[in-house]
């Protein structure tokens, strides 16, 4: 008996197979149910990256799950990307005058730490433009080679240049300040988000840092 199948394994028969209608229908129903079950969360499941790399037959939007790393992937018509977009930028050293809330320095995409280069673009010093609406986790880190010596020091996340949505203060004698917004809602496409730093006094201070952005949904 020749049993052809299509990519999801649904059975098809030749005239010469000689099966009864009941046999064919039952086998087809079973194979269709299995196909639907497999489609619950992923089109393919791989043991490791070797199996994933060898995958064929995918179409744009196909999803797969890699067991050894417990990671879900999506096919973008050229490569398998990790499903959840994540982007990181380094922040170059910049001298920031005291008493002024100032955008941190020049950003550079850290491609090796990122799974997406398109969810946000660099918009200037300390600024990224988030392309699509959604909910994002944002992390900013600012540090100096010396210590924060002013009477006030903080880092803040700012949307659109005027809306401070999150701020974290640092005690005066620290070298680093973290700021985290685990659920930043963007309601307008191409919203610019700024990482800013402030030191009340102490003259100019060179600071650098890192920005991390992950889309949650």
């Amino acid at each position: 008996m020749v049993q052809l199948s299509i990519p999801d394994g649904i059975k098809k028969w030749q005239v010469t197979d000689g099966l009864s209608f009941q046999q064919m229908s039952s086998a087809m129903s079973d194979s269709m149910q299995i196909a639907f079950n497999k489609r619950e969360r992923a089109d393919w499941v791989w043991a490791n990256s070797g199996e994933r790399s060898a995958q064929t037959g995918m179409v744009q939007g196909s999803r797969g799950y890699q067991i050894d790393t417990e990671t879900e992937y999506i096919w973008d018509n050229s490569i398998w990307n990790i499903t959840r977009p994540h982007t990181e930028w380094t922040v170059a050293s910049k001298s920031i005058s005291s008493s002024t809330v100032t955008d941190v320095g020049t950003l550079t995409l850290d491609a090796s730490a990122s799974t997406s280069s398109t969810q946000a673009t660099i918009a200037g010093q300390g600024a990224i433009t988030v392309v699509n609406t959604g909910v994002y986790a944002f992390h900013g880190l600012v540090w100096t080679g010396g210590i924060f010596s002013g009477s006030r020091t903080f880092a803040e996340i700012n949307q659109g240049g005027s809306n401070t949505i999150c701020r974290n203060n640092s005690v005066n004698t620290e070298t680093m300040v973290n700021i985290c917004m685990p659920n930043m809602r963007i309601t307008v496409t191409n919203t610019t988000v700024y990482l800013r730093f402030f030191q009340q006094s102490g003259g100019s201070l060179s600071v650098q840092g890192r920005i991390r952005l992950t889309r949650l949904g």
């Binding site: 299509i6 990519p7 999801d8 649904i10 059975k11 098809k12 028969w13 030749q14 005239v15 209608f21 064919m24 229908s25 087809m28 269709m32 196909a35 639907f36 489609r39 969360r41 089109d43 179409v59 939007g61 196909s62 999803r63 969810q119 699509n132 609406t133 959604g134 909910v135 986790a137 009477s151 006030r152 903080f154 803040e156 401070t164 949505i165 999150c166 701020r167 974290n168 203060n169 005690v171 700021i179 985290c180 917004m181 685990p182 659920n183 930043m184 809602r185 309601t187 496409t189 949650l216 949904g217």
Partner: protein
Amino acid sequence: MTNPTTPDGIPRWEISDPVSLVQVSQALGDATQTALNKRERYDFVWANDAERIAQLAMVQGSRGYQVDTETEYLYDSRDWSPAIQHAEWTFSTSIPSGVVTGVGTMTFDSAKSTSTTMTSTTTSGGTGQIVINNPGLYAYTFTRGNGTASTGRAFLDLLLDQDNLMRHNLFVNEDITTLVVPNIRCVDFQVPLFNKFYHSNGGSLTVVGRVTVTRIG
């Protein structure tokens, strides 16, 4: 021949239809594969807002994916909302000195929220409460701004279900700070979270702020 199809386009036949069993089985296999390819993880895929708005035949719980914004939507029997559940609340109140106090009446920010049912509010047990309605894992922020305490202590308190206390300090002379909990686990229904503020500046201090809640699992 009458040829009705299922909602996913799977063909069906009347007993009187002049088709062979092999024709039936092959047509079923091909149509099912087409339906699976279209479905991927979603019931619908749209190019843009206009296609999504024009969608018909959805039922409560239907999911769709909008290509231009790379956003997944969920239909609640009335509206298509981004599938990730997110809610924001604002407050503004006067806090007396020396008393840990709820931050006042919570006002729902519908423009920033994607879910009207994930959270609710009540004044039973004190003001400043957000109630998380379902068990799950949530990202939470509590940002307080306005009004600078120039002396003494100041802090934000977040109480999960009355007894699990998280605290974030506000330094003297600061006006804005954010308490962040990226992974609050609620194991019961109707879990209240109390948002409170304390200062020892003397007199009353008017504070305004925002609470954000996102369900991440």
